[in-house]
Symmetry: C2
Subunit: 382 residues, 2 copies
């Protein structure tokens, strides 16, 4: 990477002199799990000169494969959790340089877009929800522009006439997680990382590493007894314009009769509609109710979506934790965890990679991770 082009330095920010390359310390690192977090860690370490092996029978096929890729650091589910906000904001800050560096390293289009998102309210009740959310964005230091219904529809003519109002969040961004996973794997391989398709059922299956990073999402609980990671099912739809349907311009974070839904248009014409949050069941089965819960508010907010082709229905399991914050830290000598990212795996992948890169060498991760080590949960086997 040409210095200064992207501003994203793949070496550990605080210890550049110590890691990789000529005169640096080269580590053998096993990364168990090839989702977006594991892949970002692998690229980060391999680019710094470490010998990295990623273990995953199907990289990118877990939560990554069904994620929408909204890079929105402030969500309504996070009201009042200050440490988590700081982490999400810091994670979001990493993205522009990370995306630029990855694009440059691979030549791949990540579907990265930074036009901001629209918060949209269908009813008066929803308008109150959006107002609270907008206020929350402001307190987090983000710029939010309130929009009346007419202004909203001027920006996004496909919105339903009965939409009551909303707001514009300029700093929100998006990336296509499937493209991201492909690019990360290519970048990691280019930097020398190896990929092993054998499943890892015990950490002892991994031989000869100086450090093992458990980044196996929901599967992490099997590898680390006591790790409180549970699957939270999410269903997601992919639509595609048929004929000469006009394109949707903005990412929408919609509220329709107290149901929330996001509608994420990709540049290639695909629209992702997500996502349910279901605590029950460990299956990844698409259900009639899940699809209905997504289509109803999406079509209420954007009636023209009814004409779009429904090209994919999918379900996946997000790795949830008791506080729905990630678990990133040292478990014992030679073993780190980077999991439990719940809905924020894509947003937090770059900063998690930085944290793991530091910790592999026994250094402290970025401050924002301090509250999120595995030691906050009793009973985790170390």
């Amino acid at each position: 990477m040409a210095p200064g082009v992207s501003g994203y330095d793949l070496r550990c920010p605080s210890h550049k002199c110590k890691i990789g390359g000529v005169g640096g310390v080269t580590m053998r690192v096993a990364v168990v799990g090839g989702g977006v977090v594991g892949l970002a860690v692998a690229w980060r370490l391999a680019a710094a000169g470490d010998q990295v092996t990623v273990y995953d029978p199907a990289p990118g096929s877990g939560a990554t494969g069904v994620a929408a890729g909204m890079l929105a650091p402030v969500g309504e589910s996070r009201f009042g959790e200050e440490p988590m906000h700081r982490l999400l904001l810091a994670g979001a800050d990493r993205w522009p340089a990370f995306a630029a560096a990855l694009t440059e390293a691979t030549g791949h289009d990540l579907g990265y877009r930074d036009e901001g998102t629209l918060l949209v309210a269908l009813t008066d009740d929803d308008l109150r929800t959006v107002a609270r959310l907008a206020d929350f964005h402001r307190r987090a230091g983000l710029t939010v522009e309130p929009l009346r219904a007419a202004d909203l529809r001027e920006r996004e003519p496909l919105l339903a006439p009965r939409v009551r109002g909303g707001a514009f969040v300029a700093q929100d961004r998006q990336v296509d997680p499937r493209r991201l996973a492909v690019a990360l794997r290519i970048a990691a391989e280019k930097a020398g990382a190896a990929f092993v398709g054998d499943p890892v059922t015990r950490l002892s299956d991994v031989d000869g590493a100086d450090a093992t990073v458990v980044a196996a999402g929901c599967g992490s609980a099997v590898l680390v007894p006591g790790l409180p990671v549970r699957p939270v099912k999410g269903q997601v739809l992919r639509l595609r314009a048929t004929g000469d349907a006009p394109p949707l311009r903005h990412v929408l974070r919609g509220h329709a009769a107290n149901r929330s839904v996001y509608v994420v248009p990709r540049r290639d014409g695909e629209i992702v509609v997500g996502a349910t949050e279901e605590e029950r069941g460990t299956d990844v089965q698409v259900t009639a109710g899940g699809v209905l819960d997504l289509l109803r508010p999406a079509v209420d907010l954007v009636p023209g979506l009814a004409e779009y082709a429904l090209v994919e229905t999918a379900a996946g399991s997000r790795p949830g934790t008791p506080d729905n914050a990630p678990i990133v830290g040292r478990l014992r000598a030679g073993v780190l965890v980077a999991t439990g990212h719940y809905r924020d795996g894509v947003l937090l992948a770059p900063i998690t990679a930085d944290a793991v890169a530091a910790m592999v060498r026994g250094e402290a991760p970025p401050d924002e991770f301090r509250p999120f080590g595995p030691d906050r949960f009793p009973g985790v086997s170390t």
Copy 2:
């Protein structure tokens, strides 16, 4: 087939002595189109001793593959069309013997069930629709048992508590069209019919037949210039119970806030939810709006369906005609048509096969077909 077992005689009912077998007239018949109508015709003729060749690159893959297979002769879309009623009732009468004969000929389970269906109304408005429909059944000579909400829910405990009422139609039946198509093909082949996978783009592609039967559904208009057959798109869903979800017992013909939907449980646990009727577009693309229009009333009527897996979404084109009645008759010497069955292809397949079997020999079809020849439309190329 053992005489008397099914009561369904595969020879032409009115001219048994003349057709097939020892001393009979053996015809070479080309059947263009291997949907449920073409396959029934092929079996009928082959079993009578004719040399039958079916032309279809993918038998059973058109409207047949997405049909629900309700055998309900009286539907709300048919109010006031007396000749069509007579045909549908006569078609339904053929089914018990036809199903028994086909099952016996092949040993295949057709998914044939004769428990009757429930008409179900969600709102007061819907209740008026159901009352009109029940009255219409009675005038057609069918037995309809009105049911109050409590009675309905006793018969079908999965119905929503807010269902207002309905009725039971004892004579309605169902068959699984996919199983039916497989069985018909096997039966036709056992009886000596040949299948050719080459597409037929002109009738002159078919050589050496004494008679050609155009049973190509929506594709018939290409083969017979001027034949007024248009595609009417239908979308349909397939659900399947997950875990220990209780099974739905009855076929439901539901009315929910002025939307109609049918919910057809198969014995193997599959539930078919259908069907949209869309005049616009010739595509067979599943759309967000189509799926929503089916899931919303289905889940409103049977809330437990929300937990069912959505295992398939599909769309197909029914062959509609200006009066939405079939076009069955002689086009010119050696060429017959049997198409335009719209929503009634499965119900009318057996009686259509009888009609074609008669007409192949220049005999009159069953009386009920008299109003439905191609000569009722000016401009059909004969």
